[in-house]
Symmetry: D3
Subunit: 287 residues, 6 copies
């Protein structure tokens, strides 16, 4: 007579309890990107995941980039996107386009979606309250207004988080002279996770995680130590797309974050799967 | 390649989100009793349910009685339990036994179980900080130290709840002259729900809810208005065991509680099923 | 032997004191626009004015639009801007452009400038924490995604203001279904001033104020009552550009703001002149 | 013409002032037991003393045991109490009886008495909020569920005390596996005094204090250093009943409590005499 | 064997408990003057009484005058004191003398004495934070800078009191134009008691209280209603010195103070006798 | 068409901004004395300067002496003022006169003036809350009740300052035995600045600052290090009046105050000139 379905559902909520307890009152930074930022139903799933985290007492912080949409608007404006070592060559006009797209389009869209699902998100970039200060990244050849994080002051985001707001951070920041820089969003996510004392960094990607054999989806490496990653990065083991993800995780873990995860954002509710199950998904990087 | 099981689990968590949002920061009073207080695995399930409520931002408050265990200790001490109109005739010695059993055995056992599951429960009776003051219930014939609630001061329980502690209340209280009274736990639960401004009272029973035809388990009445209940109580429709449950719900609902529920405590995680699903289970009483 | 210059300077600081005392702890909303948003030295002057207000204990809130820059990006993207009754016909693509320009370009530029002058500005639009909810403005013919303010929840801006941050609000907001609307920034400023309980609304324009004879700069009307403005608006006295400014002031004043001012943003430090002198500048609208 | 009686009374209040100032805002732990817990007028006197302490700005905390009443209920239930080295052999049934008596009878009776005298007492045992965690005491032969204190978390009792509530602690606690232990109340009092940073521990006994010659009531030793006590304990100087009292005092003093006192609970208001006079009564143990 | 003396002392402390409970957290205003301000041992007694009040959770506030010392300094400076209807004719020089004596001599002496006894007193007059604003009292003939209380803002004294400081108020205040006025200290005490929401005003005098027959010390009237006092004042029953005391009490009682007392300051610890005994001393005026 | 005057005024406000930012939330101690305490229009200017400081977020604290007025009252009372090494020989009667003049006349006059200009000043001496404890200054020959600062407890002044009140401190303090001492106000100012963690000490004098050649007003030394001052003091370079000023500055700077200034109080608004301009005026002493 017992409704088996209801029973099962209750059981699953109960299985989540130890994870809720473990992360209660802690900060989890989510690097949002890839398919999960394109596919409407995946987007929906990410937003509910984030709102759920906040309602079970966790402080989620979202960091996002948006290279494809930047390139698209550049194209529409008759500008060709050029890259050096995977980094966008960024002149003043490109920077303006990037900022408009990241802050004024993608960021606010995420904010609105979270709020439609019952959250209270606030869209921010490094310029707001000057909470993240950038400096020009030195590179040869010069690639323009590409920046790196100089320092982060967590006062404003902490204020918002402790009052139940969810910061959504676009990977744009200024320096003290009034310049604006585009920063790799993976790197920003790692830095933010470290500066905010996050317990976890979760990077949503379009792969299953780190694979031993890139052609074999069965070869997922479930966990790596920071030293292993550093070693393998220095030996050039990883393909190009994976490198900034791994660097982001290293920054986080070396900066005090307990665990960083590269997970498959193509799976709906991948965030919940990572946070609320023992096995987790994807590849975990630890100290 | 997606793990279907994990996916399903995530989906179920997500389905709970609207309910979490609805009850966030609100108080839910649970009248604990019946099989759920006897069967070890049901007990375990109730405790995890309560801890889960607290971790998703709800303030659970537990009220319990324990008639059977009182009678048992009475028997071991060579005292026979006698009842008038379903109420225990309570002389001074019986009262002492009842208080020892309720406060010193059942209450603290619940506290310990909740705390083993990660909660921070505190066992209380009306005497603590004199937060619930009783008076003698008038009855013909006189049945001794059976009381009714005179007033409740929520200051201490509010202090505990806002600091994340879970009050576990035994249905014993004193008056200002130093007398002690045994009070029907159902009635205490209704009064506490009202005095604490709870949004919900959930009474765990050993039946499915209110049945139209007591012999037909398919005849469950899913919802009743307070007026319907009052009308039917006055017409003597209900069997004896159901009457205090319904009176408890009436006290709560007439005292401002939005919804009171009589649910089947024999089903594991019945509390979660009630709180986190649309259909709910059992019978709901509303204004 | 006394340094006459220093003496004079001190005297001027002292003359500002009564105004500082009058507005201490109060909110002043500044509608930023026109030449003051284009000319670099005027921009600089506005930013220092705003930072000064905050350091003398006033809570400044900035609201801005940016029609010209929206039109310019539309043009670069091969879209022609069309207007009906002075309002931009706004299809989905136009809305996206408007949002990018207002939120991602103009808003963050203001934020960065304020912060370079020692303030702590945070760029917001209605979507952030859903603090300002819009609805479609009905018009004949339909002009698309042009909105009006449905309601404002001042909780987040109050939180920021009481912690010393300066909200910079772009005139874009969403509704609960996920639509985005462009709203006249003057109207937003009036609504925000009223919802935040501001003591003053200051609209920076490119005229001296309300002139009796539009051709005669000597004919400035220093003050008007709300009823006078309503009467003259209904009689069609004002030229087109002035109408939304006056409506903004009316919304503010009718919504409880003591004084609304239409001032000449072409004058450097016009805000300080308005706030810290007895005569003030421009035209003042009062209840 | 001056009322000599009133004058005397005022003088006595004034003499208490230096002691009130000395202990203002400090915690004093009272080990309650012996005749003072049996004789009705002594009980009354203790309760008023405790309430008075709280009203003059001191934070009193009460710890109690209750061996005689445990033995009595055991006897009524046909169980014989057996002791090894003065410690009660405690099987599961004995433990249940002990908990019922201590928590559900004695503790709540103290609570009610304090509250009748105008205090706001709350009855607690180690299980509440798991504030005191026990472990099995190793002994040869095994004596069952007799525990010792593993650790104390003062968060909940501090919360209660700073809000004017008076914790009344029964000497029962659990471990993390769900076992329950009976702990010597003297030892609990010493541990609690140390963990709560008390300035004083006062143990109510049925003797005058530590006597040089146990047969000579004139031979009271007014003060002993912790080292003297340790030395004399190791030399077996003391009679059996005094040993746990002295150990309790040692635990307190070695744990940072300034002074521990063994006083004669048969004297009404012995607590006030100790706290508010220069001479004090009984024997004082200091660092 | 029990020390009878200690026992008696404890008993007296206990008798004070109900009064401590009654006045806990409440404000008691003491009008200090007469012999109690001259005799060294009486002064000492008053100071300890005040400090004791504060340590048992009461907020004492002291108001004092000092006519005799003003006259004395006037005389030393070759100025003759003249009075009209019992009020000092106060020219500018007299006012300066009065202020120096009251604020700079008597007030600070009281402050120092209280602090020597363990209190934390702060000496104030109406000018401090402009908390009490005076206006010229109209009289025929004109008597100069004699004032009456126009209004009292309790913000600063409340701030001090809730942080444990004891305000000592000299009966001098200014108006908004910079004039200084001498105000009858009895009247100030009544006004302060009312403005601060005191529960009691105690006026120390050099008589036993209100006597039915001024020549018969046995004829003390223990209590009077405000109406009785008003009636008798209008009928000219009282001798001159008593009139301002009774007016002070009327102001207090009519302004919401529960009880006002005229007591004999020549008795040491008269304040404690009034506050901590049932009978009290002197004459009590009630609503 | 722009009003040049208004424009200039705004510009001057803006020039003050960096200084406001620099000193925001910091304490500045002002040693008030000399012509600025005598000339009515200079007094007025000082008061507005102090109120302005407070309204731009700075915490001003005023310390004053008043030797001339003490001597004057002494003379009127037929007492001759005598000095040894520039210090007033202070018998009990002289001390009483000094206290009345400083606390009851000068201090409260300053308080009233500040409050008339919109501040909330509170007049204090060391006796209030015993915040500044003095001891007898040893000297040969004995000069009586001349004191030096033993210690300062900033709790009360901090409480007042953080609530927007302005402490005005007279240079009188007591010891714990009830003695009263007159202390050099310059020295008090230095000690107070150090104890309160001030960022600046500003001493108003009747000279331009430290002059190289006392006869040549053009020879002002704009800045000196603490070591230079110590060296020159030991070499007896300075004239008598300057010595306590320099000692005061040394106490402050050696006690952690960043900058101490000796400025010309004969110039109206000299405080503002010092605080809000780059050049400053007078002589600055730094670490």
């Amino acid at each position: 007579m017992v409704d088996e379905l209801l029973l099962k559902r209750a059981g699953i909520l109960i299985e989540a309890l130890p994870y809720i307890q473990q992360f209660y009152g802690k900060t989890i930074v989510i690097k949002y990107g890839g398919a999960a930022m394109v596919d409407p139903s995946l987007k929906e799933a990410v937003m509910t995941d984030i709102v759920l985290l906040r309602y079970v007492g966790i402080h989620p912080v979202v960091v996002h980039g948006g290279g494809a949409e930047i390139s698209e608007l550049m194209k529409r404006l008759g500008k060709e996107a050029t890259f050096v070592n995977g980094m966008r060559v960024t002149d003043a006009e490109t920077m303006e386009i990037a900022e408009m797209v990241l802050v004024g389009k993608i960021g606010k869209e995420i904010v609105q979606l979270i709020n439609q699902h019952g959250g209270k998100a606030v869209g921010l970039c490094g310029k707001d309250a000057a909470f993240m200060i950038a400096r020009k990244m030195r590179s040869e050849p010069d690639i323009g207004l590409v920046g790196e994080v100089e320092r982060i002051d967590p006062a404003m985001t902490d204020l918002l988080a402790t009052h139940g707001f969810i910061p959504v951070i676009s990977s744009v920041a200024g320096d003290e002279k009034g310049n604006t820089y585009n920063i790799n969003a993976d790197i920003v996510a790692g830095q933010v996770a470290s500066a905010l004392g996050a317990v976890k960094l979760i990077a949503l990607t379009d792969v299953q995680g780190v694979l031993k054999d890139i052609g074999d989806p069965e070869s997922l490496i479930p966990s790596l130590s920071a030293s292993e990653v550093e070693d393998q990065l220095s030996r050039g083991v990883y393909e190009k797309g994976m490198i900034p993800k791994l660097q982001s995780c290293l920054i986080a873990v070396r900066g005090g974050v307990e665990r960083a995860h590269i997970i498959d954002g193509r799976i709906p509710h991948a965030i919940l799967m990572e946070v609320f199950t023992d096995a987790g998904i994807g590849t975990m990087i630890t100290q």
